[in-house]
Amino acid sequence: MPVQMNASADNRREAADIVLRVENIRKTYGSLVALRNVTIDIRRGTIHGLLGENGAGKSTLVGIISGQKSPTSGTIRLDGHEIFHADVRSMEEAGVFLVTQEPMIIDHISAAENLMLGIWPSRRGFVRWKKLKADAARMLEGSNINPEARAGSLDAVARRKLNILRAMFSGGKVIILDEPTAALTVPDRRQLFEFMRQLKQKGVTFIFISHYNEEILEICDAVSVLRDGSLAGGTDDVRSLTSEQLSELVLGRGLDLFQRDRRAAEGPVAIQLRNVIAPHVQVDSLELRAGDVVGFTGLPGAGAKELARTIFGLHPAREGTISFDGGPGERLPTHPRDALDRGIAYLSDDRRKDGVVGHLSIAANIALSSLDERSWMGFIDSKREARLCDDYFASMGIKAPSPLVAVDTLSGGNQQKVCLGRVLATRPRLLILDEPTRGIDIGVKQDVLRIIDQLSRTGVCVIIVSTDTDELVRAVDRVLVFRSGSVQEVVTGGDITTGNLRNLSQA
């Protein structure tokens, strides 16, 4: 492997150069080892990438650095000083901030107040509202966020920006960005990277977590890779690496990127939508043939996601019909149950919000959407259920001690597999996947795309709602580009390229 190990590379460096040193960190949960004696040095004024598969221990490590979790053993040194019993508050005071995957935003207060949460300008214990508002307005300049807006009314992108801005302006020395680009559009991402570079010049240090190799290669100076709770490797000079080498380091094996053989639309129409009108979206006609994999893309709010949720009954339609296999037009589903009963399944993009029931077991979650199929007079047939769950537990490759473990304890990618298992267990004829690979690592991503491909070969129609152009290029037969609530463009065959899709959806 053409990559130096961290320890040997960093031992040669001067101590003053290192702003944060994580030393021999070990974390166990009961008998489960999440981190095995990890040592990483992070140099001042660099952007340090942190890579690894789902469940490799990234979130745990970041949790420890930010003070949310305490290590079982090991030390953290900030500017050479050891930090004892750190909690979030004291780490933030020391200048270490975490911007998480799940934006921590309080919905019912304004953007300005969220921005200043915990750092309220005050005089003798009283909040100075005028100064708060003025400061917030200055910070939010150029972000297109109205400081007075209620945070709950902001979309996912704005909420993420808000969190990033909050950390950046709170005087952070070390800012940890946990997949900051996951929901951002290309210009937003560019803007964010530019901003990070500016702050880097001023000596701010970033720990940057991402699943995208190209992002790591573009923005990071150094990188550390975790695999199964151990440090798999790393380098102080990212420029010496290629994307393939990075993937190999992450997976511990060569990666074989999935590419679907695109098919031209042929065969009878399996599903037809007509004159669909719902809030923020309007589509005259959409035809899916058996085995089609269709991508929906567009900026947030452009209608791609809205149409997907309308078909599943989560976003009530005002008008419109759906017909199956050339049959008569039926009204659109009014409730997810209605949709599932007609063979339409939907995988949410926000698995924590409306994907999994965290405290229930993996098995219970997998069974949740198809309980009636395996029950008699309202009683669950537990044998058939156990069989079903074992099947999906194995075929999805879920990493967990057993199917009876609570979903809460799993990493994001494994939770996504549980959701996918639940959805597939309903045996849909139309499968709608909303950002199916958001926040999951590149290895699992290939698995998911492969599962989708194999499903389509059995005649299932698939809709993939995605802003990840690479995913669309690899997985779909045609792409519908949405703009202001309607389909603006249909891209097929060889025209489906990352560049093309980016241009069209951002235009």
Binding site: S31, L314, G355, V357, S395
Partner: protein, 331 residues
């Protein structure tokens, strides 16, 4: 569709960390251990406590609280609450009793009328909370006040004692010296336990309580589940009302109101989460027995009555504190 991918690497099998496991086990069963300790403790203080007669007494005492505990637990499991259950108990039993004494109905249909009214009240609460999106805490608080007031109005402040022999039979009957009434509680406990564990409805309750949005997306009709839950809960309150009146052979003008806090405390002590989705009938039984043992024990160990409330409160506090420590450090 089966067998698609396999990327699973062998996951580390949990190794036995014995001390940790033991502590976990102890804390997990803290209600039962605490219950056992109190029974032994009270038994040492007063030899009457461990007699068969007193055990029977505890079982009878636990019956009404147990029915109410079950009724309160169901809304808690779907992450809502119903404060009106003890008031529902009092009001519905008065309706049943008046249907017999004033309308001249035979006692059994009259009792059924009472239970039906309780069930309807539960159904109505469910409707308000789901279809009108009323906040359950306040909606059921107001329902509680309404029902307490209605009971006072119905009885005109008097105690109803005109109950038929058939009506009071269950509260007094015994077979070979053992009271019959606790059987109703045990039966309810088993039925609710089966419902929660083995049915689609029970699974749906846990899912809705854990994450309503995800349950909705998974195809569960969340509103329907909540309404049925409140309805079953109302039914249990009605049966509890019948049992209490039958046992006491009287319905006072504030029947049931003294049960409010204990009926809420019992399932929570037994591990039912106030945030929904967690809890089971075994825990509820433990909570109910614990509270009953504390009450009965303090009553017969000659603790001066001025201290009973305070000591009982402390004992509950300890149970809850230990459980909190379990969740905090050993979850």
């Amino acid at each position: 569709m089966t067998a698609i991918v396999s990327t699973a690497k062998g996951s580390a099998a949990p190794k036995g960390d014995k001390l940790h496991q033991t502590i976990r086990w102890v804390l997990h069963n803290v209600v039962w251990i605490w219950l056992f300790a109190l029974v032994v403790g009270f038994g040492l203080f007063n030899e009457f406590f461990l007699t068969v007669m007193n055990m029977q007494n505890i079982m009878v005492q636990a019956t009404v609280l147990g029915m109410l505990g079950l009724a309160v637990a169901l809304p808690l499991l779907v992450a809502e609450i119903d404060l009106s259950i003890p008031a529902n108990l009092g009001f519905s039993s008065a309706i049943g009793a008046l249907a017999y004494s004033d309308l001249g109905m035979p006692w059994f249909p009259a009792m059924m009328v009472g239970v039906a009214v309780a069930t309807l009240i539960g159904f109505f609460n469910g409707l308000c909370i789901t279809k009108l999106r009323m906040v359950s805490l306040i909606q059921t608080l107001s329902m509680m006040i309404i029902l307490q007031g209605a009971l006072l109005a119905l009885t005109q402040g008097k105690t109803l004692t005109n109950l038929s022999d058939g009506y009071v039979w269950i509260g007094q009957a015994s077979v070979a010296g053992w009271p019959v009434m606790p059987l109703i509680f045990i039966l309810s406990l088993v039925l609710i336990g089966i419902m929660l564990r083995m049915t689609v409805f029970g699974r749906s309750i846990y899912a809705v309580g854990g994450n309503p949005a995800a349950s909705n997306s998974a195809g569960i009709r969340v509103d329907r589940i909540k309404i049925i839950t409140y309805t079953v809960s109302g039914f249990l309150a009605g049966v509890a009302g019948f049992l209490l009146a039958s046992w006491q052979m009287a319905i006072t003008s504030n029947q049931g109101s003294s049960y409010l806090l204990y009926a809420i405390a019992a399932p929570i002590i037994g591990g039912v989460s106030v945030f929904g989705g967690r809890g089971n009938v075994t825990g509820i039984l433990g909570g109910v027995l614990l509270l009953t043992v504390i009450q009965v024990g303090l009553a017969i160990t000659n603790v001066p009555s001025f201290y009973v409330g305070m000591i009982g409160g402390f004992m509950i506090f300890i149970a809850v504190a230990i459980d909190a420590i379990r969740v905090r450090y050993f979850a």
